[in-house]
Symmetry: C2
Subunit: 319 residues, 2 copies
């Protein structure tokens, strides 16, 4: 499959986002370096305005449409997670109405956060797929922002790589895989800039659509997924993100929920920051496979929207 | 009393530190702004290499001596806290031996961190004052770095203000007061740059040497101090820092330990970062007196070296 995402698009996305999103910090971590046995840099996407990297893709998509002269009045997304929050935030910044469709059993705290961004929340259907179908049926005219299967969303996530390359010196990067948008966009930008960069994907064993698709040689959708990392739990990557992973990913590490809890705990005790489960997956991948690192590693704390329940659980664990 | 710290020294300290300490991030906080009812920016000194602002002053002091052509071989400090860690770190960076004197009952975790920086730790005396006397008696030739009563340490802490002014737009700043070095240096730099800036000191009611000294019109040393914020617990400010406070501080807010616990808890739930008790004092001051804020406030999360026990306590609290 040819690919409709390019380095030039990632660079254009970077220019579009420049006025909206200041760079997130990247720091060397003495304590994680000690633990991993290799030099480790940490990129703190928890300092994005919605506390997750997803705002890059949502804003890049909508800013690109505006740049093309497309005048939307409303924006629609289907997600009870950070993507829903990202689209709500981006719509508010651009003065657009947003309708965010979520399943009926969506987490109340996350729904409240989306509402706080000024979006209309529509709770419908028993899962993400049904919410998505309702969104498309009820808003045929609105701009629809897919959480990962979209060239400009992927290009937006890729801006993380350009930023990191200007902030620190490393040759191995660990990127969490849900739908594969971050891996696709950032993997592309890393590899096209630095062909020697080692790009390591990190996927949950309970939601391993990418691993199964690579093994089967075709896109594999899972019957069901099971992981605490709701940010990494789509039932399937897409043809587009699978193509990008094939082209730009060197290794894929599979993790269990216990690996995420341990990494979240270390983030708190060593880095003094709280992440949500998916937000610690990159670090967990490094800790599982430090042998994959060449000279130095970059890990991305990709999201900080832990629920109060997750924080309580985290601190009651004996790890 | 005339003052031997100037804006020119703070600017020179900034130039000296430029190659050693990258700027720490400053971000607008939507959730703290909502809670306080005024726009709030947060400066994250927990991303300093020792996880506390103190490294600014210790490095500025030693770099200034080196610039003057003074060739030290050893450095001495008396502190079991962030200042001891800062001097150990600065000495290692400059290739000097460091001896850090601590009281016999010093916190084991903090002592281990100082040792990890390569310093010799000498446990002697029943309190900070006795450790200090032993340090001076046993190392008459070594460079001694005072935690706050030193012009270049104060100028180093002042660099925080220059950095913050280049990162965000605010007219009110809350600065925690222990010995008064940060308040003195940053207060000076803020006011000399922006005479309209409102500088608010934040002191613990159980260690209120500055408040009592201001009331008495002379330096008052406390018989004993009582606060969970060991970073804010010297028995006395100094003539030098008292003079700076008189000149540059507009208001002084007094806090109880419960105010710090509440602010630490909010840092974790709203900002997703862990601070030590003294590190949350600036935020606690804002939350106690948001009425002091003009257009927008800056709070400084000044240190992140919470002990495991403090983290446990924090999470068991019902606030």
């Amino acid at each position: 499959m040819t690919c409709d995402v390019t380095l030039a698009m990632v660079e254009e996305a970077k220019a579009l986002l420049a006025a909206e999103l200041p760079p997130t910090p990247t720091f060397f971590s003495p304590s994680l370096s000690r633990l991993a046995g290799v030099p480790v840099y940490v990129k703190y996407e928890i300092f994005q305005p919605i506390r997750a990297f997803k705002v890059r893709g949502a804003l890049a998509h909508l800013l690109h449409r505006a740049r093309q002269g497309i005048r939307d009045r409303a924006v629609v997304a289907a997600s009870a997670g950070n993507h829903g929050l990202a689209v709500a935030y981006a719509a508010r910044r651009l003065g657009l109405r947003a309708a965010i469709y979520v399943p009926k059993d969506a987490n109340a705290a996350k729904v409240a956060a989306i509402r706080w961004e000024g979006a209309e929340v529509v709770a419908t259907g028993s899962d993400f797929q049904e919410a998505l179908q309702a969104a498309l049926a009820e808003h045929p005219q609105a701009a629809f922002v897919h959480p990962f299967d979209d060239p400009w969303v992927i290009a937006g996530q890729g801006t993380l790589a350009l930023e990191a390359l200007s902030q620190a010196s490393f040759d191995t990067v660990f990127l969490a895989v849900g739908g594969g948008g971050l891996l696709g966009g950032a993997g592309l930008a890393f590899k096209e800039h630095e062909p020697q960069m080692r790009v390591v994907g990190v996927e949950m064993r309970g939601a391993d659509s990418l691993a199964r698709s690579l093994a089967a040689g075709r896109l594999v959708a899972l019957e069901r997924v099971s992981t605490i990392a709701d940010g990494l739990a789509p039932r399937s990557v897409s043809e587009r993100t699978l193509t990008l992973a094939r082209r730009y990913m060197d290794e894929l590490v599979l993790l269990d929920d216990a690996d995420l809890w341990r990494a979240m705990r270390l983030c708190l005790s060593e880095e003094r920051v709280l992440t949500e489960p998916s937000g610690a997956a990159s670090l967990a991948g490094l800790l599982a496979r430090p042998d994959l690192v060449g000279r130095a590693a970059l890990v991305v704390l990709s999201g900080g929207n832990a629920t109060p329940q997750q924080l309580s659980t985290l601190l009651s664990l004996r790890l």
